[in-house]
């Protein structure tokens, strides 16, 4: 077996992934271990976990591969400085590339203690790593490939094809023209953080009208029929300064940017709707170009923009492809996984057997698991009372009963998810039918007010009963509408100034209000028995009790904290919040039974805003 460790680092969301031949053995983001959100550091802890999972030492690896070319990145940074100016920006970027990224091999040797049998670090191009992360684990023998992100080396968008073990990216859009950077520019203009606030902007869009879409197309981005595009750079600041937008950007949209945490006005919600409309259209055009170029009616996607589940859902609903598969860790973290698989197939020549219609992402449950013995030791060590429920059916019934009673449950089970979404194994669950679930979970668990509803999980076989959606969405990467018969309002969008988005989002719009957005959309995750039998059993037990197999699923963390990884993380989060129940593997913990929890009162300050 050829075993390659893939690394992504130094930008955001560092990660490590271990591939064995054509399979992914393990993958995890560094933030889950370091407890630093979006940690960009060299993924020492994640790499160590990957080696532990395979029970191998670094000298048993065939190679270590980095997901980016620092040489090409340097060329872009230098050219950008020469053309765009901004000495301060250049000096900082030059220091980062020439002082750190170029010498990633040095850090890899220092941290890992070796580079495997290859003896030196391998590198691949950033967008080829994204492409590999999208195609190789996909359920397709051949597919069109689309990658879209902010920028990787020179490339911001690429299209191509995958067939068997071969991948080619044939065409690209190059920096400084970038759909990802355009979306991030609007994100920061609306007062959210780049590289993490894009999800908020997407969640804001359903409140608004796309009245700025024409302005965006007229002044910010020129879109060609084939999905190629370029930006009007005079309105952007990232070429020659520290801000994403130039002063003229504000002039276009009637005033200065919104300050973080300031009141959200009609302008921001309409801007969100507008950039979403432009993105939906452009993603579709790009995908259709990839289809023409590849001749395939299957599509795979990766890159940060591929996490835009609204655009993905609309593309799926258009029916342009027979199948769409998106890498769940579509951002930079997934580059580690793509790099590892790309090296196995492209450097070592490992063949890729037909996936026969089944993806090889393993439910994206690629992180660490903790055995019953480990959880028991944790409980014993800390003197924590818990009920041991070794029988899976008994465990599912017990948790389902508490959910049906209105309890909020921390669900810690099996291997941790790889990628930004909690898919049930490091999740907080609640009854989606309860009108107060949204508000309760925000205030008592997440310690935030949010205009975004939570995401639903639904048993795959029951999906069509609740949502207008065909197929599967196991990775929460598609948005789909709640079916008309489950809606309880007239479908009217809020008009006028959105003074109170929270009041709007808390209105009951369907039989499953906690997961229904103002436009009746939902960020859908389907759960099947093959990928996640434990969670599927729980949904079945909940249905048996209540007649409903939809639950609220949100990530197991508080605002600004990385998703929990270990039992220790989970218990701490459980006690810091007002969750009622914690399932730790086979053990059920009731909050009311727990001993007093001594904690550092400054923990909330440790996690910044998300």
């Amino acid at each position: 077996m050829i075993r390659t460790l893939g690394l992504s680092a130094y930008y955001h969301d560092s990660a490590a992934a271990l591939a064995g031949d054509h399979q992914v053995i393990a993958a995890a983001q560094e933030e889950r271990f370091s407890r630093i959100k979006h940690d960009p550091a060299f993924p020492a802890l994640a790499a160590n976990y990957c080696l532990e999972e395979a029970f191998i030492e670094v000298d048993e690896l065939d190679a270590v591969v980095y997901y980016d070319s620092p040489v090409l990145t340097w060329e872009r940074v230098l050219t950008n400085a020469i053309e765009g100016g901004a000495e301060d920006l250049f000096v900082e970027a030059a220091g980062e590339v020439l002082g750190r990224k170029l010498w990633v091999q040095d850090e890899a040797v220092a941290v890992l203690g070796g580079l495997g049998r290859a003896g030196r670090l391998l590198y691949c191009e950033h967008h080829l790593a994204h492409a590999a992360s999208a195609f190789y684990p996909s359920p397709f023998d051949e597919a069109a490939i689309v990658t879209i992100d902010g920028v990787g080396e020179w490339t911001t968008t690429s299209i191509g094809w995958g067939r068997g073990a071969d991948i080619e990216l044939t065409s690209e859009i190059a920096y400084p023209h970038s759909l990802g950077l355009l979306y991030s520019a609007v994100t920061t203009f609306c007062g959210f953080k780049a590289n993490s606030g894009e999800y908020k902007l997407m969640g804001l869009a359903p409140y608004g009208e796309a009245r700025y879409a024409g302005l965006i197309r007229d002044h910010l981005i020129e879109v060609r029929a084939d999905g190629s595009y370029r930006l009007n750079l005079e309105h952007f600041g990232y070429l020659d300064g520290p801000t994403m937008t130039a002063p003229s950007f504000a002039a276009l949209f009637g005033g200065p940017p919104r300050q973080p945490e300031a009141r959200i006005t009609r302008r921001e919600v309409d801007l969100a709707a507008s950039i979403q409309a432009v993105t939906d259209d452009l993603v579709e055009r790009i995908a259709l170009s990839a289809r023409r170029e590849s001749g395939s009616r299957h599509l795979v996607m990766a890159g940060g923009v591929a996490l835009n589940c609204v655009a993905n859902g609309r593309l799926a609903a258009r029916g342009c492809f027979d199948g769409i598969w998106i890498q769940p860790a579509a951002g930079d973290a997934g580059g580690a996984l793509g790099a590892a698989l790309l090296a196995n197939h492209g450097y070592f020549g490992v063949p890729r057997p037909s996936p026969q219609g089944r993806d090889r992402q393993r439910g994206s449950l690629l992180g660490p698991a903790y055995s019953p013995a480990e959880v028991d030791a944790f409980l014993q060590r800390n003197g924590l009372p818990a009920t041991h429920l070794a029988d899976p059916a008994e465990r599912a019934a017990a948790v389902a009963a508490r959910l049906a009673e209105g309890a909020v449950v921390g669900h810690f089970s099996g291997r941790m998810e790889f990628g930004p979404r909690a898919l049930g194994n490091r999740s907080i669950l609640a009854d989606a039918r309860r009108p107060d679930a949204q508000r309760t979970m925000n205030l008592k668990i997440k310690y935030r007010e949010s205009f975004r509803p939570f995401a639903p999980i639904v048993a795959a076989e029951d999906c069509a009963e609740y949502f207008d959606f065909e197929g599967e969405s196991p990775y929460m990467l598609m948005v789909a509408p709640v079916r008309a018969e489950h809606r309880r309002d007239g479908g009217c969008r809020p008009a006028g100034e959105p003074d109170d988005l929270l009041a709007i989002v808390n209105q009951v719009r369907s039989d499953i209000p906690a997961v229904t957005h103002v436009d009746h959309s939902a960020r859908l995750q389907t759960v099947d028995a093959e990928r996640n039998p434990e969670l599927h059993r729980l949904l079945a037990a909940f249905r048996e009790l209540t007649g409903c197999s939809v639950l609220v699923n949100t990530s197991f963390n508080v605002r600004g904290e990385p998703i929990v990884c270990s039992p220790d993380d989970a218990y701490r989060c459980f006690m810091r919040t007002e969750m009622d129940v914690l399932l730790l593997g086979e053990y059920l913990l009731e909050r009311s039974n727990q001993p007093p929890f001594e904690d550092d009162p400054s923990w909330r300050q440790r996690y910044g805003s998300d």
């Binding site: 230098l78 000096v91 170029l102 590198y123 060609r224 259209d281 450097y347």
Partner: protein, 152 residues
């Protein structure tokens, strides 16, 4: 001053800065320096930006044929990729393990059609900065700035 006299370029720049009472280059200086003195050394402006420069005076969207959604102009902006697939050798040459490899990688990348190094001085300065930072990652920005000054 000849266009290829890099030493003279440095002296000219230092004298110019002293004349205006500054010690560091600003954005306008860099642009002017590049266009006047560096561009002749490295050949034409890279195509990525040349196309941008050519279109700078044209409002975005003015050649658009509307299809109702804002797209429709005939000329594609897709460009062929330099590297369509990863060949085994690429896995090695896309990164570097030493300053010498860095110099070789940049020379390969920036070789002019006639075979000459397109940016010899830039390569030298890049390697100089990178070597210094490799040995002392905590080097101050002033040191980097001083050397990048040479680079320009």
């Amino acid at each position: 001053m000849g266009a290829t006299d890099v030493g003279a370029l440095g002296r000219w720049t230092a004298a110019g800065l002293a004349r205006v009472g500054r010690t560091t280059l600003n954005e306008r200086d860099l642009r002017r320096l590049f266009r006047r003195h560096v561009a002749p050394l490295v050949g034409p402006t890279p195509a990525r930006f040349a196309s941008e420069a050519a279109s700078a005076d044209r409002p975005v969207g003015d050649e658009r044929v509307s299809d109702g959604r804002g797209g429709g102009a005939s000329e594609s902006l897709w460009r062929p990729r330099d590297r369509r697939a990863m060949r085994p050798a690429d896995f090695v040459t896309l990164g570097v393990a030493s300053p010498d490899e860095l110099a070789d990688a940049l020379a390969r990348r920036w070789r002019r059609p006639d075979g000459a190094d397109g940016r010899a001085r830039t390569i030298e300065a890049t390697v100089q900065v990178a070597t210094k930072l490799r040995a002392a990652p905590a080097a101050t920005s002033a040191e980097v700035s001083a050397t990048t000054y040479v680079m320009h």
